[in-house]
């Protein structure tokens, strides 16, 4: 980008000058021309002018507040070529946005550096405090701090959080408790809104408070704004207390689904404020609009979800943009719903839920990771920003404090929530198998936090119709602060005090999956025998429909026919393979390593040629790639270590390497033999032994009695110099070549794979040109290495029992 400096030389007094000044960039190409030839043409600012010959110029329409000085039309002494210049206004907006986001991230970082504080005070509180400080700072400096712009909030800050929640929604629990959640969301919110609105109206009518001018409708509107439980606040607080899944999904599900109610009530009362007379028709229309808003939102979400799933079917060649499809389709669903004044949140949730199982069956593992991390990242940043801005807006906004109004709002909010929860639970418990205990009810009532949505909704109110908006804002902010600070801070000790059941860190195991599926089928069968079309019956029917028709359309290739158990099993394998490799492979051994191998459970196992689960080619390829990449890294690490050591003698180097390898192999072997259970195929073939001996000068002879035991050997890629031999190959090979140690003799199963055909490939696991189909796949049947204190990293790929 070139800018022109305005050099008045030669122009003297040319008309209204451009209040621009740009350094002469044109001098570079035509160095002979002096500054005198720099021309500014055009009388209006912002004109692009064509350059005089030889000078390429471009004038950019800069704002008038460019900090570069404006030239004066008079001839000026030549300005030296400005090597450095400042132009803030050009980058102002992106710069400030980035600064805010950076601030948010640094804050997050800071809280974890000081662990003592973040244990007591939930992050959301700290962030609001930070926001207050920042706002105060800005005000102190003299600028006016920015207020949380409602449009930005609804269009940019809220969707990532909701998408993150919807995409990773634990579907099984959600559907099991759907009735309860819906009742809490719909009936509960309605109750809150009307109770609060009505009572506030009554309060306003009490003389002496100066609030007489606030009509019933305004109060009802206020009630509807503030009655909705806020998903952002709930997420922020509940994430940290690790409460049991039932309560979590109840409160969280309620906060998501009450969006429809809030939207309807908000628009309804806003409209009614303009109408003089509210008739039955209006109420009826309002009632209908509720269904339209919620179901319409869900419908839009489902459509976008299906389209996204369908698109992902064809992305096998361009894996890199797969995550983008997920994000874009979901965002479009949100925007489309907002376009029609439908519930955007419900659309987003529906889209995420619908697309997830199919998309995950289609996309690559890396794309899945990308989606997961991007969503978490965005939602995290969004949440932080929202809370900070809440703080800043508090400082910035105009407030109107009215003691009566604010205190009574707070009071009635709490009372309404408690009464609502109690009443509804009494009703719901008649239909629930797992009743909600009073402890549960307390947590549900206490977890009804309000947050930024209420604030933004209030901010959107039209000032002309609602001139008491400032008072509303103040009251809302007070309630938000109260719920977030007081309730947010005390909920953790209360949870501990009441000994509420916490989330169980269960490791998902293949056993559990088998049992769950078995139970599902059993219960469906019993229901059929009883002739009772219950919950399981319909679920089973849905699953069958899904399997028969939908999966075929939306999932690419073979995966469409993959039953859930197999899919789950593959996922577990992948996960364990990755974990094994990521833990260094050669590094530490997990503490509770299981030494159970096939020998332990089936002593009569013969070295039968067995093929492991029919993994599709791509899955195999993926697993191989992951393992290979990681093992390669190991090799490179070790290699570079060797490069710097002074080795005069190549044989000495090889010796050193061998020693190193041996040591590693011992460790690896210990680990590997716990996991590898694939029995081998045939014993030594001439090619293999030749390859072995040829490549490694230190090759050993195979053990004489190795015929009885299947042996794992992974042969080197090709008979080449030691340098090119894959280290891990050597290690694996070394495993069966070491002088028999006691443990080795008792090894149950060891694997053998034929050497790969093409030289130079250091692909450890490529099947060679085999003569029997059995040695094609070498996969590991990784057993669970036992309970490990590992936190579950987010949701499994495929929801349980879907």
């Amino acid at each position: 980008m070139t800018r022109l400096g305005k050099a008045g030389a030669g122009l003297g007094g040319a008309g209204p000058f451009l209040p621009l000044s740009v350094p002469l960039a044109a001098l570079a190409p035509c160095g002979s021309l002096g500054p005198a030839t720099a021309v500014v043409r055009g009388n209006e600012p912002g004109d692009f002018t064509s350059a005089p010959p030889g000078i390429s110029e471009e004038i950019h329409p800069l704002s008038k507040h460019s900090s570069n000085h404006t030239g004066n039309g008079h001839s000026k002494p030549e300005k030296a070529f400005p090597v450095l210049g400042i132009d803030y206004t050009r980058i102002r907006i992106p710069f400030e946005i980035s600064l805010w986001i950076l601030l948010a991230c640094l804050m997050k970082l800071g809280f974890h550096v000081i662990p003592s504080v973040s244990n007591i005070v939930p992050e959301s509180c700290l962030l609001i405090v930070v926001g207050l400080l920042v706002g105060g700072l800005i005000k102190g400096v003299g600028e006016s701090p920015p207020i949380l712009n409602s449009e930005i909030f609804f269009l940019f800050l809220l969707p990532p959080i909701i998408l993150d929640a919807g995409y990773f929604l634990p579907l099984r629990q959600f559907t099991e408790n759907l009735g309860t959640i819906l009742i809490f969301a719909v009936v509960g919110t309605l109750w809150n809104a009307f109770f609060l609105g009505g009572l506030m109206y009554a309060v306003c009518q009490i003389g002496g408070t100066g609030l007489n001018h606030i009509g019933l409708l305004a109060n009802l509107l206020f009630g509807s704004i503030i009655s909705a439980v806020d998903p952002v606040a709930v997420l922020a607080v509940f994430e940290e207390i690790h409460i049991n899944e039932l309560l979590h999904i109840l409160v969280f599900g309620e906060s998501l689904l009450n969006d429809a109610v809030t939207v309807v009530l908000y628009h309804l009362f806003e409209e009614f404020a303009n109408i003089k007379q509210v008739t039955i028709i209006h109420i009826l229309l309002g009632f209908i609009s509720f269904f339209v808003v919620s179901l319409g939102g869900v419908f839009i979400g489902i459509i976008y979800g299906i389209v996204a799933a369908f698109t992902s079917r064809f992305t096998s060649h361009i894996r890199v943009i797969e995550p983008l499809f997920v994000f874009l389709y979901s965002y479009m669903a949100y925007l489309s719903a907002e376009l029609f004044h439908l519930s955007g949140i419900m659309a987003l949730i529906a889209a995420g839920v619908v697309m997830r199982p199919y998309v995950e069956a289609n996309i690559s593992h890396k794309s899945h990771t990308t989606i997961k991390y991007f969503l978490k990242m965005w939602s995290s940043v969004s949440e932080t920003l929202i809370f900070i801005f809440l703080g800043v807006s508090t400082v910035a906004g105009k407030h109107y404090w009215n003691w009566t109004f604010v205190i009574s709002t707070l009071l009635f909010c709490l009372i309404a929530r408690v009464l609502g929860v109690l009443g509804l639970t009494w009703f719901i418990n008649k239909f629930r198998i797992v009743k909600l205990t009073p402890k549960d009810q307390f947590i549900i009532a206490y977890g009804g936090l309000r947050g930024a949505i209420a604030f933004s909704l209030c901010y959107l109110l039209d000032y002309s119709h609602f001139n008491m908006r400032d008072m509303f804002l103040t009251a809302i902010i007070t309630v938000i602060f109260f719920t977030v600070f007081v309730q947010g801070m005390t909920i953790r000790p209360l949870v501990d005090l009441l000994a509420v059941k916490k989330k169980q860190e269960t490791k998902r195991s293949i056993n559990e999956e088998i049992h769950t599926q078995f139970l599902d089928h059993l219960l469906t069968g019993i229901e059929d025998i009883c002739g009772h079309y219950g919950h399981h019956h319909w679920k089973d029917k849905l699953n069958r429909f899904n399997k028969k028709y939908v999966k075929k359309c939306l999932i690419a290739g073979e995966r469409s026919k993959e039953p859930q158990l197999i899919a789950f099993y593959h996922k577990m394998e992948m996960k364990q393979a990755i974990e094994l490799v990521e833990s260094g492979g050669i590094g530490k051994i997990p503490s509770a390593v299981s030494t159970v191998s096939m020998q332990n459970i089936h002593p009569k196992t013969l070295p039968v040629e067995r093929i492991l689960p029919a993994l599709s080619k791509d899955k195999e390829e993926e697993i191989r790639k992951i393992l290979r990449n990681n093992l390669q890294k190991t090799r490179q690490r070790l290699r570079s270590y060797n490069r710097h050591t002074l080795v005069a003698d190549p044989y000495e180097e090889a010796w050193n390497q061998m020693l190193l390898r041996r040591q590693k192999v011992r460790q690896l072997e210990k680990k590997m033999n716990n996991y590898l259970t694939v029995p081998a195929h045939k014993v030594d073939s001439p090619t293999m032994s030749r390859a072995r001996i040829g490549s490694d000068p230190l090759a050993y002879e195979p053990k004489p009695d190795s015929e009885n035991l299947p042996i794992i050997t992974i042969d080197p890629a090709s008979p080449q110099s030691p340098e090119s031999v894959d280290l891990v190959n050597e290690e694996m090979k070394g495993m069966s070549r070491l002088p028999p140690s006691p443990e080795e003799d008792e090894e149950g199963l060891v694997m053998r794979v034929k050497e790969p055909s093409s030289p130079g490939t250091d692909d450890v696991f490529t099947p060679g040109t085999s003569d029997s189909p059995s040695n094609q796949r070498m996969l590991r049947c990784l057993s669970d290495p036992g309970p490990q204190p590992e936190p579950e990293e987010g949701e499994p790929f495929i929801p349980k029992g879907q």
């Binding site: 198998i433 195991s509 056993n511 049992h515 059993l522 026919k561 039953p563 096939m598 002593p603 290495p785």
Partner: protein, 214 residues
């Protein structure tokens, strides 16, 4: 089932024995009559008439469970040929939802009962252990709805699951130790995390006999 006078007595008896309410017993009785074609006992063939049951992959195990003497709380072992209404109710009582007023001990007993029912379903040869072969059988049946799958896949899944079970139940094992099979205690351990008493129930609330048999 006798005259109506003794019927209500019988119903009372049954209600006490199995824990159902008289209303539920009447519903179930109607269903029983429908299934058995108005005869006093049901045989295995009668279950073939239920259309929806055909899609169920573990159909045979379920039907088998109804005739399993261990589930019927009879002392002997093996399979009964036919069951009467009382037996039918006994089996159904395994699927009752828990009641609010149950104390810890009853709850535990309840839980064990349900898990025992499941255990019997897995352990088809009645030897008190779930061996590898039986487990493989279970997984194969679960996957039986997918004809294109190779048998090997089911087997390896079962193997993996068995190994995991062994490591949970026994922990570290020497290479020459053999894990015979999953005993009932081990089975209990495996199910510890899952709330079986809340999951394994059927709502007997409203049971209009909608489903018709052939």
């Amino acid at each position: 089932m006798g005259s109506s006078h003794s019927m209500s007595e019988e119903i009372q008896e049954l209600a006490e024995k199995t824990g159902f309410t008289s209303e539920q017993i009447e519903h179930l009785h109607r269903r029983f009559k429908q299934l058995s074609g108005d005869q006093p006992t049901i045989r295995k063939e009668h279950f073939d008439n239920i259309p929806d049951l055909e899609f169920n992959p573990i159909r045979s195990k379920i039907v088998h469970a109804f005739f399993d003497k261990r589930n019927l709380r009879q002392e002997s072992d093996g399979l009964a040929d036919e069951i009467n209404f009382e037996d039918f109710l006994t089996i159904m009582s395994y699927f009752r939802p828990i009641e609010m007023n149950m104390d810890e001990e009853r709850l535990d007993h309840f839980r064990k009962e349900k898990l025992k029912f499941l255990f019997h379903m897995y352990d088809s040869d009645h030897d008190g252990k779930i061996t590898l072969q039986e487990y493989r059988n279970v997984v194969e049946e679960l996957l039986s709805g997918n004809p294109h799958l190779e048998k090997e896949s089911a087997r390896s899944i079962a193997d993996g699951a068995m190994m995991e079970a062994a490591s949970i139940c026994v922990g570290q094992m020497e290479p020459d130790q053999v894990y015979e099979g999953i005993t009932f205690e081990d089975f209990l351990k495996m199910w510890q995390g899952i709330d079986i008493e809340t999951k394994m129930h059927v709502r007997f609330l409203n049971m209009e006999t909608i489903a018709q048999c052939h």
